[in-house]
Point group: C2
Chain length 336, copies 2
């Protein structure tokens, strides 16, 4: 049912229906009653989002969260949910495995839930134009951008930190602290995700410092799970490769690796420094507290919602927003 | 719009509409086309939940999560979301502060989103009949029951562990390990939440062992937040009360307290044993790994959804399901 159907059935003009739905005062009592009667008869949702009616759509905004066990997402999701509700929309959320295809999930959700817009949290960075063609509504990539994709910058929106630059700074900091055998702990170095783009920062820093990146110092654990990082680190340690620092591309991976090192008798930071990116709350409660570059989680969420609503309501322009990180001094770095 | 409206407008019987919507084969091509035309004209959701149309409702099931920062909920939420989608419904989720009123939030969501049913995760245990009268749809309490409320057992559904018994076993275990100064770390001992019901188990164990519970050994931090547990524990330690063990009513609180003890030079488990309830993944990565009684998180979620769908679809009977916990041996308990 569209706003036109309501106008036709109630016998008033489309603009009158619009005024009633938007609670404008300049509508006759009679016309208002007619419109509201139809709205009631057809059991329309008594919500504050008349937009949804006008477009013959729901008031649903979708959120696809990729990589369900990453605690980094918790406060971002909370902020997104709050802001979407505050703006009068309904959040429909779906969590998918980090190996699943968020564009396919988004396209299906768009149809099933008649979405007005979509936010992808933790998505890939390598969308092609052909792949996103399946999505017919505005979408915003939250915490990732399209660094490896083929989208034109005026055709998509994203809100993220500068992942490569942050990783570069973290590794440069280790180098300046005297470390020369810096391992990198990641999901995969070539998966088109945040893992890859942070790995690029690691390579950039090493190269700039005149050190060639070594295959042996790449610890690929295949996911962002703490348990996989723990197991992957144990296996890597068994290879006996010498190292004096670990740059973990995510707090969650660092926490798993710290347990593995502890169990193998490696003292942090005395024998090995650890630095990461993300800044989740619980990593500050590790022993020692993790030194890490914190993402502005609430701001990542709120900016994504704001961008998306501008796209939905005002056909705003696409932008790629980059937010700054803040270093949190823990106890996992010691100068050599 | 109800199934009757569709029948009236399309000029076929109500049962024919029902057969079309449920994709029964025994409908004439002509009648099917008429019904589908109306469905399309009024832009009905092409989903697999004809129930929603028949009842002139949405296919929404609500989930209210109370206490947003508790990582204990993450895998329960994921399971609930998965099972609700698999059953052909749409999950509408809202996270509220642990101080907020989940019944009020539920009543508002019921109206706004035209819910078929509700799941409360992390709610209070002291609902009165008057309070739940605001909720007109079936609901299930997940991870809490109505131990302190006035609801009749045949009038509400819940899925939880036996909180008092688990706390009792944890504290009895500490006693049998030679501990005689056992502190309890909790949100509040009298807040009508899981904090209180686990505190009862602590009191029961001490009493049974012939020890009087002491006011001085109750560490009330006012929330389930890790940061509040850390601060509350620091303040309590400054009072200089002697103790040899801490029973934390939640993993999250234990992790905050362990950091506080570490910073004050208290060695775990040598000087103080720690045991908790919940069994979240990250607490196993603490140094030492937390010894804790694990809740069956996925089963809590899946059983709640199953109960609720039975209530919605088949008007099933209310039940209070109690699931078992499993002890996870960490490194935070040492016999005296």
């Amino acid at each position: 049912m569209t706003i036109k159907d309501i106008a036709r059935i109630s016998g008033v003009s489309v603009s009158t229906v619009s005024r009633v739905l938007n609670q404008h005062p300049d509508v006759s009592e009679d016309a208002r009653n007619k419109v509201l009667e139809i709205v009631e008869r057809y059991n329309y949702i008594p919500n504050n989002s008349a937009r949804a009616l006008g477009q013959s759509k729901s008031d649903n905004i979708g959120l696809i969260v990729r990589g369900i066990s990453n605690p980094f997402y918790t406060s971002i999701i909370h902020e997104i949910e709050k802001d979407i509700e505050d703006a009068g929309y309904t959040l429909v959320m779906q969590q998918i495995a980090s190996t699943a295809d968020e564009l396919l999930a988004g396209a299906m959700m768009e149809q099933d839930k008649r979405l007005l817009g979509l936010i992808f949290l933790g998505g890939r960075l390598d969308y092609t134009k052909e792949q996103v063609a399946a999505i017919d509504i505005p979408f915003v990539s939250c915490s990732s951008n399209n660094a490896y994709g083929t989208l034109d910058s005026d055709s998509y929106s994203s809100v993220s930190i500068d992942d490569t630059q942050t990783a570069y700074e973290a590794v440069k900091g280790l180098y300046q602290g005297g470390h020369r055998r810096i391992a990198v702990l990641l999901s995969r170095p070539d998966d088109g995700s945040v893992s890859q783009i942070r790995y690029e920062g690691y390579v950039k820093a090493l190269t700039e410092m005149g050190m060639a990146p070594e295959e042996d110092l790449i610890i690929s654990v295949g996911s962002y799970n703490i348990a996989d990082a723990y197991q992957g680190m144990l296996q890597w340690l068994d290879r006996g490769i010498s190292f004096d620092a670990v740059f973990a591309i995510a707090d969650n991976l660092a926490m798993g690796a710290m347990r593995a090192m502890r169990e193998r008798g490696i003292e942090i930071p005395k024998q090995c420094s650890v630095v990461a990116i993300d800044g989740i709350e619980v990593s500050e409660y590790m022993a020692p507290a993790l030194s890490t570059y914190c993402q502005p989680m609430e701001q990542l969420g709120s900016t994504s919602v704001q961008l998306l609503i501008d796209l939905i309501e005002q056909e705003g322009a696409h932008q790629q927003v980059v937010l700054p990180t803040v270093f949190r001094q823990g106890g996992t770095i010691m100068e050599r």
